[in-house]
Symmetry: C2
Subunit: 323 residues, 2 copies
């Protein structure tokens, strides 16, 4: 039984990870600034003796340190799962300071405190956004050049760079997970919940940004969490970098729009915009190599369209529950 600290601990991915860690017998200390996190994700955990939480802005070094100081009698922190980041890419494009603070400085501070508190393992939620637009090229972990086209991707790459230097200087182990698009519940943002909510507001029409040809890989959040735990347990190096995703070419926005329409409002008309990108900084298509993770021994059970369909069902149930 070890103590695991999660940043971004009231977010979509953390909520799923916390459940798994507690099931595995671990103790969890979840931190979140609640800028995008949701206090209600913590509510069902409050009776759980192996769960603690604190509202902390990890971009504020003093506050973050004070939070970790409360663990001094717990025999040490085994790992930090650094999931905190600004997940609103367009907001980061409008104001790059949001990504600086929430995506990069949270990482920087995490590393400062891991050194101070002698925390041996960092598990970091990175992103396919670090790669930028490689067109039809299959993207393996060692590809170059790395040309992120959003501030979000830039600050994830900055985070990875600082983590790599920390491994050289003091950090015993870092596992870097490069996520694709992740779907599932409890959904807080992303294309699926956007489409579901739009169709509930205007059941006859679904307006889609871009021409619908954007193609991306999607992974079910439960599978993502499974992969993270698998890598953390199995990867032997000090600096382990893995693409995590389905082995397929992904699905198009058109396929997603149709899947949501068919499930939520079968008669609706889907209206597409123009251009292959939904917004500045959005990578229009993406092919991920996942053979490094397959070689380690992990493969997802759902492909992209399967993950999307499953998530649409879950999100519809979630959104109906909110009525």
């Amino acid at each position: 039984m070890s103590l695991h600290v999660l940043t971004g601990g009231a977010g979509f991915i953390a909520t799923n990870l916390i459940r798994r860690l507690i099931d595995l017998g671990e103790t969890v200390f979840a931190l979140d600034d609640m800028s995008r996190g949701r206090p209600d994700f913590w509510a069902p955990l409050q009776d759980q003796p192996r769960f603690r939480s604190a509202i902390v802005d990890c971009a504020d070094l003093e506050a973050y340190r004070t939070a970790l100081d409360t663990t001094v009698n717990d025999g040490g922190i085994a790992a930090i799962w650094h999931l905190a980041a600004n997940s609103d890419i367009p907001a980061g494009i409008a104001d790059p300071r949001i990504d600086l603070q929430r995506t990069f400085l949270t990482t920087f501070n995490t590393l400062v405190l891991m050194r101070e508190f002698s925390i041996p393992t960092l598990n970091f939620a990175s992103s396919s956004a670090i790669y930028g637009d490689h067109g039809e090229t299959v993207i393996h972990e060692d590809i170059g050049p790395l040309e992120p086209i959003s501030n979000y991707g830039a600050m994830k790459l900055a985070s990875e760079a600082q983590i790599r230097a920390a491994v050289e200087a003091f950090l015993p182990k870092a596992n870097v997970f490069r996520f694709p698009n992740v779907v599932g519940v409890p959904a807080t943002h992303g294309v699926l919940i956007d489409f579901v909510d739009k169709l509930r507001a205007t059941p006859h029409r679904l307006d889609v940004l871009g021409d619908g040809t954007q193609r991306k890989a999607y992974l079910d959040v439960e599978e993502l969490v499974d992969a993270m735990l698998f890598i953390a347990a199995q990867a032997q190096g000090r600096h382990n970098v893995f693409n995590v995703g389905p082995p397929d070419r992904g699905v198009t926005v058109r396929e997603i729009a149709e899947a949501v329409r068919d499930r939520v409002s079968p008669g609706a008309e889907i209206r597409y915009g123009t251009g292959g990108r939904g917004w500045v900084g959005d990578v229009p298509r993406f092919r991920y190599a996942t053979d490094r993770l397959a070689a380690l021994g992990w493969r997802p059970q759902h492909d992209s369209i399967g993950a999307v369909r499953r998530a649409v069902d879950q999100i519809v149930a979630q959104e109906l529950g909110r009525r």
Copy 2:
């Protein structure tokens, strides 16, 4: 005649670049926080009508903005040459906040202000340190993975990432120069001046960090400035990334130590340490591909050992002048 802003404007490279820009008929506004810059580098320029300077910490956005505000009646800033960075790699390893502030946040603020002031061109001094240790592999600009092993390299990579995203979002043009080791005068830091000063303090002995087998490429600062101006004038893309360096495999620390010893104190004993690295974060060997720059039409006149020998002569003269 255009206005060029230089950050790190009282540094080694800026001092050489300012002279060239003024010779070309440009106007220069040099900014420096004087943390490592030297006021005496500006002294000989003070009578020059096309030179202005200000002591400003570019990591302080308000101060940086105030400095640029003083140019409002000058018809706009044509370009920022962003040279400010923490050049003391070991200091950055001891305290990563130094690289965060001086190397990365200066870049971040530069981009914020380029947007506000509609400055069309960024010329950025990046570094071979972004690549990390690729052993004997020849490093071209598009190589992966990028695994910087110093905080300095990490924050240069973070800077490059943020610049790339800025080109996507608003910045008309960015030229990114990845520097090798640069030598020449006025020397302020680096292995040559270290060796010269050590030998002047103890003329019979030169202690060298590491076993002397580290091999790196060196470029004369005047050639570096020439290459930067060439790329800025010739490269046609919106995001131009160039390795700048000699076409050779570089010289070893042993060759450098001997060159300095032969010039400064021919009878001295050179004592080597152990290990292939001088310090944590130092990349022990390095092979640079420079064919992209050669294809654009620029090649250096000196090879690495030629640049080192020339610089040793210049540095000895400089240091004798300080007696």
